[in-house]
Symmetry: C2
Subunit: 157 residues, 2 copies
């Protein structure tokens, strides 16, 4: 007789946690995004990209690498960088060593926008997430999400 693998249903408790996760990430991301937009005209995805650029040598990263770092599609990064370029926050540079390569570079203006935005963002993360969280719980969440990344994103980040 054949054994069909039954779908492993979630326990009531697991379901409760999963829903809290869904709802929590929704309101948290939404709020951080709104705060950033209101104060600096920057969306969360844009902000994340700028952070990566600011930390890279030469404040410059190749498009594909950038896409991988923030886990967005290449197309998405192309569009996002195009928008940021229009605002003079980043610029595109030809990549030496690879004729196809294009790298995004954070401008000085972009860097100062990011510096300002970082305050808003970090304050939000602190107030909405860290403030009322038990540090041990916070660590636990880190372990879990790190595991998720490793299993779904081919061991990156």
């Amino acid at each position: 007789m054949e054994t069909t693998t039954a779908t492993p249903w979630l326990s009531a408790e697991q379901q409760r946690v999963w829903r809290a996760f869904l709802g929590g990430t929704t309101v948290l991301m939404d709020r951080l995004d709104r705060d950033l937009r209101a104060a600096h005209g920057l969306s969360m995805p844009e902000y994340e990209i700028l952070v990566r650029l600011s930390e890279a040598p030469g404040r410059s990263i190749r498009m594909a690498e950038l896409a991988d770092a923030v886990a967005h599609s290449r197309s998405r990064v192309t569009h996002t960088i195009a928008r940021l370029e229009r605002e003079n926050i980043v610029l595109r540079g030809q990549c030496s060593e690879d004729g196809r390569g294009v790298s995004a570079v954070l401008t000085d203006h972009g860097f100062s926008v990011l510096e300002a935005a970082a305050h808003t963002h970090v304050q939000g993360v602190h107030d909405y997430l860290i403030e009322n969280a038990d540090p041990a719980d916070f660590e636990a969440m880190g372990r879990i999400m790190q595991g998720v990344i490793e299993s779904l994103h081919g061991r990156k980040f």
Copy 2:
């Protein structure tokens, strides 16, 4: 002398956790969404709405209440329900007791779509998230996200 409240910077460890959270939710949601779309033509937001409807008395919830339950704007819910209505998964009903009220109702066809989708979804949540997570860590994440919801979503969910 005046004391300006300094931005409470994140520790290296907190930053590590926060980035894992950002990256993890991105790849996790993306994957769950893709699985659902590929197998049942349903997005995550759509799926969440159907779950709420399926649990409600009469498989029916008023638009505003639904919007609040999934933490989406009313406009967004209107559009989403409109799409689902086109596919005969939900239908709109006039709400008795309130002339303005409209309630979304899950159709029988919608219910069977949801039943099928639930297998895919739950399997995903299990495989990508729960499987390799320590149960205590998982509980910890639940506490944190519950706290986030309570502070940002006016104590709902």
